[in-house]
């Protein structure tokens, strides 16, 4: 364990920026977001929850996967250049755990998602413990906690004497070696874990309540927007489409993009011929929860929710995932 002052931490981050991109929480027009920073002056060290997780730096909201150039009859395929090595500074334990979930879902099967794998490999996670659970947070109900450093390369917590840093992985050690700081015997103060506790029921109980009228009632207020899926650190669905790029005579250019997509959109599940197996918003909302709590555990052995609480904060009509978990538990009790 090393101990460092805020100034030492800032100097260290400034030196890291020379070699790699540093993504950190910063204020963008009043909103707290993970963004690339060019100076440690831009980094916000004391914060609650960011509006979005840093998911987009590993699974970009928009990614060019291929460019095609057609000059007369000659077709050239251009693969995009790989990005730089990056450090995500100040990632919260929940968001780091969400990347473990994405690992299971995107890398756990063959073929692995090559784009995600490349970014994941090029990324070092520097975690920052939350001193407590914030409004709407429930990470401690999902086998984690506000000071869980298990999913980061280097964990930082704030103690009275300064910031305490410990490396968990080789990547973390390499980064920590650049920091001029004293060794210490101190341990991180335990974070306050008081907060909402909810029970997540096993997949077989979810299956038993699939046809319950509760899902229709729950979805009545749903607006079918995409906010919950885009603020979610584990939602990972994307669409792939080709864009035409403006080009000169004799030259045609296309760009193949993949971009975030949302299962809340009516067209998400529509198939050739126009049939849609999930035409109603209640089916879509139910499916989102089943994906997280029933299908992912069954298929990938991982619950695809980390309790960050962002969907609760972002929902314009107050749909609350913890309330839903409580209802499912109650329904399952009734049936057993």
């Amino acid at each position: 364990m090393k101990v460092a002052t805020r100034d030492a931490l800032a100097r260290w981050l400034d030196s890291v920026m020379v070699q790699r991109s540093v993504i950190a929480p910063r204020r963008v027009e009043g909103e707290l977001l993970y963004r690339p920073v060019r100076s440690s002056d831009d980094i916000v060290f004391d914060f609650e929850r960011t509006a979005l997780s840093p998911k987009t730096y590993l699974l970009p909201d928009t990614q060019v996967v291929l460019e095609v150039e057609k000059r007369d009859r000659a077709v050239t395929l251009i693969e995009p250049e790989l990005g730089r090595e990056q450090v995500i500074f100040g990632i919260r334990p929940c968001d780091a755990r969400a990347l473990r979930v994405l690992d299971a879902l995107l890398l756990g099967r063959t073929p692995a998602d090559a784009y995600y794998a490349e970014r994941r490999e090029a990324t070092t996670l520097v975690g920052l413990a939350c001193p407590q659970l914030w409004d709407d947070c429930f990470c401690s109900s999902l086998g984690s906690g506000p000071d869980d450093g298990s999913a980061v390369d280097l964990m930082i917590c704030e103690a009275e004497s300064g910031y305490l840093l410990s490396a968990n992985t080789e990547k973390g050690k390499v980064l920590l070696e650049q920091l001029e700081a004293e060794e210490t015997e101190q341990a991180c103060p335990a974070s306050e874990t008081a907060g909402a506790r909810v029970a997540v029921r096993p997949p077989e109980e979810w299956r038993a309540v699939f046809d319950d009228g509760y899902w229709l009632r729950l979805a009545e207020r749903c607006l079918s927007c995409h906010a919950c899926t885009y603020v979610c650190p584990t939602c990972r669905c994307f669409d792939v489409r080709d864009d035409t790029i403006a080009s000169g005579p004799g030259l045609a250019r296309f760009r193949r993009l993949r971009a975030w997509d949302s299962c809340m959109a009516p067209a998400y599940r529509r198939i050739a011929g126009g049939h849609n197996p999930r035409p109603d918003k209640a089916q879509r909302l139910r499916n989102r929860y089943y994906c997280k709590f029933c299908y992912s555990p069954l298929d990938f052995d991982v619950v695809a929710c980390v309790g960050c609480g962002r969907c609760i904060a972002a929902c314009p009509v107050g749909i609350d995932i913890t309330e839903m978990l409580g209802e499912v538990a109650a329904l399952a009790e009734e049936r057993s």
Partner: protein, 293 residues
């Protein structure tokens, strides 16, 4: 005052549901975290869930497009009761003019509206939201029952002051402003989904066959969507600010709608949904019409 409104809503909802006048009443309830949210009350016994205070900012008219429009299967739609403020009723009026909602399928529980509290000032003694401070309507244009006593009108004159800064800046500065704002848009479409006026079966911004807009989450696509939406709401936006309040990234979207509302007012002397007999100008064609363009 708020308690009278709440009591009035509960009494009316209980009556409507127990008499079978409506299939459900759409109002507000308090969620598990103390925040208000829309609720659908189907049984008279649940009318006690309905609450009302000056944080009940959702425009519930948005839910009527599913409920009070003629059904595709041809069966009679369920009549719905709805709690509505003056701005909500103007949005409803637009939908009725456009044939989206049948007036006789809606029982309007009109609220004599004291205005909503500013988001940051929610709680005791908070100040009114900016858009409510300039609103002169205390009683909805039409209703089937009115709850609450109309509070006095002490609205500030609407001098379109909220637009002054943008109007006073150069086109380059305005563009820079909107690029900054749209940069953090996540294309979640909460603004569109919360808007009663946005009821296209499939939004042009999401259509894939043909695909008009790239799926990229980048500023050009976001700007295109927001500007298009603003134009599609020309003369139709009731200025309820549901879009602003739904945006998880707090983008001041209604500035776009306000600017266009100002233009429509200047050209047509029209305020969206303000008259039960006059249809929206951009949904009207008159051969002899000449505009001072």
């Amino acid at each position: 005052m708020n308690h009278e409104i709440q009591d009035g809503i509960r009494i009316r909802a209980r009556e409507l549901l127990s008499l079978g006048e409506v299939g459900c009443v759409i109002g507000h309830e308090r969620g598990p975290r103390g925040r208000v949210r829309p609720v659908f009350v189907h049984d008279a016994g649940d009318a006690g869930r309905l609450v009302w205070d000056q944080t009940c900012h959702h425009n519930l008219v948005v839910y009527l497009r599913d409920r009070a429009a003629p059904s595709r299967r041809g069966d009679a739609p369920l009549r719905a009761g709805i709690v509505a403020r003056p701005c909500d009723v103007r949005a409803l009026n637009v939908l009725i003019h456009e044939g989206q909602v049948a007036r006789d399928q809606v029982f309007v529980i009109g609220v004599a509206c004291p205005g909503m509290l500013a988001e940051e000032a929610e709680g005791a003694g908070g100040s009114l939201a900016e858009h409510c401070r300039r609103c002169k309507e205390r009683v909805p244009l039409f209703y089937d029952a009115l709850v609450g006593e109309p509070p006095p009108v002490d609205a500030v004159v609407d001098a379109w002051e909220d637009l002054a800064e943008l109007e006073g800046s150069t086109p380059g500065e305005r563009l820079a402003f909107w690029i900054r704002e749209f940069d953090r848009c996540i294309r979640c479409y909460a603004c569109r989904q919360a808007c009663p006026g946005c009821y296209c079966f499939e939004c042009l911004a999401e259509q894939v066959d043909p695909q008009w807009v790239s799926i990229a989450h980048r500023v050009p696509q976001k700007a295109f969507f927001h500007v298009m939406r603003a134009y599609h709401l020309a003369g139709r936006c009731a200025e309820c600010h549901a879009c602003d309040l739904a945006c998880p990234m707090h983008i001041p979207l209604s500035l776009l709608n306000r600017k266009i509302a100002k233009e429509v007012k200047a050209l047509f002397g029209y305020t969206a949904g303000a008259d039960p007999t006059i249809p929206p100008p951009l949904a009207t064609f008159r051969k002899d019409e000449e505009l001072p363009l």
